[in-house]
Subunit: 420 residues, 2 copies
């Protein structure tokens, strides 16, 4: 069996070309291929159109030795991926009884009846390896011919992702001759172009490991990737580079390595210390709680929270004083402080977090324009409040995400006694 | 000026090929082009590599008369999109003073200093139309040569999307000779393959309008698209087709047309009736509140909510009885009922929504496996509870989204008196 030197990804579906769905499969497959040390030179999307698919398949194989296709394996008349790939390799299709049996079993395990049109999914190109699909109905396929390999996977990410992990990776692993390890440095409070300016020499001069910054949602992430024969060596190369980055100005803004997200960094940190958390949200409207409870097993740290959108909710649920709201308004240092303390006491938590601000697009005033957000943290030792002046040009979504991230960051910093 | 008959999209960035970011630009641009009646035949992604970019640009123009590029216009040394497109058309780059001035102004309006490397972004291909960027630093460009057009836009979606609306659409609008209108039918409670089975004859036989189902997050959406000379005609063609769909079995599961989401359908509905809403969330952990407060201007309907993750939070914040939790457990009909009623009374709302369940992956028992979720709604007239048995094979994320959507659906159905 030969090594895969490079791959291309072809995602099939008119719904992708119409923009009805976002192509998460291409990024998923790319990320996993990178981890196997297989470079991806191109991703493409074509519709359920025989002629354009035929052309795209031929083009890809003229450049690369491995083509990974997603979508178009389903039961409907529009699903023609398997047919086009089989045609490219000059193979017939035939009914695969094992695939059919497994599919019927899958339907019965979900308590559903298999409609007749599903049978089409059990047709396999002659000589293809069938990749059993335990997460949906359409099986995948691998065709090898000479030094060319086509891997076909179903389109829904909820099926494609486990199919990749459980079926494709074991198959590809032995074919890859090196491993790439990547580590991510999480940064808050320094913009992408400033980070790039500070790390420019690393970005330009280093080839292995590589250093690349990415921005999004008001945060910045620097990815350090190293390629080596084995994982331990690549990992150590990354670690040495991360130490170099810590020595630059960027170091002051790092909140974690491979922590995945601010919420995860905070929850892990509180868990280590046996501390509990509660939050009171106005402008973020549940986003902090949602992000924390995205994390399975957060219940040892997270007790709960209040979304106190209306003023009455702030008074009734977490005891913000009516006079405070009257005198200073809902978007104020005083209200933020009382919210953080109020929710901490109401739930008996060690740490309380609060947000109150103007997420827009409406609701801004000359004094308090859109983007004005107070974040607060309360612990037994007192309350801390910080004013964020986010740009009123930013979207509601961006302002809410930033407010949530910064509020969690304030809690993380205040609770990081051993780091100071 | 000639019509654009078809377009291709080329997104540039190694971070896309590494799978570090998801390509939302391709779907955004595709969607907007469809609305202008311009078909997209292919989307592609290449890295910041001169040779591969050169090849991709040449291939696209051999098939299509318009190529839209995103990314690679930034200040770093990796940004080479403009250079490669200019090379394709045989054009030199020169500093565009106006673009430079606007960029400096943008930096100062954001209260930031412009670093030297940003100047590169003001270099324009000779004769190109400069698309001013009010949402970031890198301007976009349009090059027309013969019947070929290249449109270059910055990569960050937060810049690309307003650039598209405010700069590219006005430019493209007059070049399109027909309009596509699409309407979306929102469906809950019937799976995609069942919907497809019921609407199969429409999907296969109709060419204009077209009918296509899409599934995601436990919901189904059917998109009806019509192409005509003007918007009114296309819109009417869609409406007639939607009436046909209402007459099928699918009709019973429709919860709205072009409502965008369940949360929007619910908030609009309550707003029309002057009703207010509060929610108490356990397994959804703030997701309902987050989804509702994603909607700007929801504060006339949404008062707030409680994320009662721990049992104590359920007792303290919304008065769930200790005995109820002891006797039936947190995941039970009785607890769901008390949560919905408790939060409605605590906040003085007209409608209370609650969720309690096991989102997994841990926490399941033989009696109450992962996917067991009780949803409840409380109004002045009483409480309604529904048990969802979602598949334990589903992800935590999927179970949470489904639970949130179904809880809001229960409230929507109960409050839709005039429909029954």
């Amino acid at each position: 069996m030969k090594n895969v030197r490079s791959a291309e990804i072809l995602c099939v579906g008119t719904e992708l070309l119409l923009g009805d769905i976002i192509n998460t499969n291409a990024s998923y497959i790319s990320r996993r291929l990178a981890a196997l040390g297989i470079p991806v030179y191109r991703q493409a999307v074509v519709g359920d159109n025989p002629e354009r698919m035929r052309q795209a398949i031929a083009e890809s194989f003229s450049r690369s030795d491995c083509l990974i296709l997603s979508g178009g394996l389903g039961p409907t008349c529009d699903d023609i991926t398997k047919e086009m790939v089989a045609e490219h390799f000059g193979l017939e299709l035939e009914l695969n009884q094992e695939a059919l049996d497994r599919m019927m079993e899958y339907f019965s395990s979900m308590g559903r009846n298999m409609t007749k049109n599903n049978e089409k999914q059990a047709m396999a190109p002659l000589g293809a390896r069938v990749l059993q699909n335990n997460w949906g109905t359409a099986p995948g396929f691998v065709i090898e011919q000479g030094d060319k390999t086509a891997i076909m996977l179903p389109g829904p990410p909820i099926e494609l992702e486990p199919m990749w992990r459980e079926r494709v990776e074991p198959y590809l692993f032995e074919r890859s001759n090196s491993v790439i390890v990547s580590k991510n440095i999480y940064i808050l409070g320094m913009g992408e172009s400033a980070v790039e300016e500070k790390l420019r020499y690393m970005m330009e001069e280093l080839e292995n490991p590589t250093v690349a910054p990415y921005a999004g949602n008001g945060e910045c992430r620097v990815r350090v990737s190293a390629r080596a024969k084995d994982e331990a060596t690549a990992s150590e190369m990354c670690d040495r580079q991360i130490e170099e980055i810590r020595k630059t100005e960027v170091g002051d803004y790092i909140y974690g390595i491979d922590v995945d997200s601010m919420e995860n960094a905070l929850v892990m940190h509180l868990r280590e210390r046996g501390m509990t958390l509660a939050c009171a949200e106005s402008c973020t409207g549940g986003l902090i709680a949602k992000r924390i409870t995205d994390l399975a097993g957060c219940s040892d740290v997270f007790l709960g929270g209040c979304v106190t959108y209306a003023n009455e909710a702030k008074e009734k649920l977490i005891g913000v004083k009516h006079e405070t709201l009257e005198a200073y308004g809902a978007v104020s240092e005083q209200t933020a402080r009382e919210m953080a303390k109020g929710v901490r006491l109401a739930l008996g938590a060690d740490v309380g977090i609060a947000t109150t601000g103007i997420a827009g697009p409406g609701g801004g005033t000359p004094d308090k324009p859109v983007g004005t957000v107070y974040i607060a943290v309360s612990t037994e030792e007192g309350e801390w409040v910080k004013l964020l002046n986010l740009s009123p040009k930013r979207s509601r979504e961006f302002i809410r995400i930033c407010a949530a991230t910064n509020a969690m960051s304030l809690a993380l910093n205040l609770c990081t006694f051993d780091k100071n």
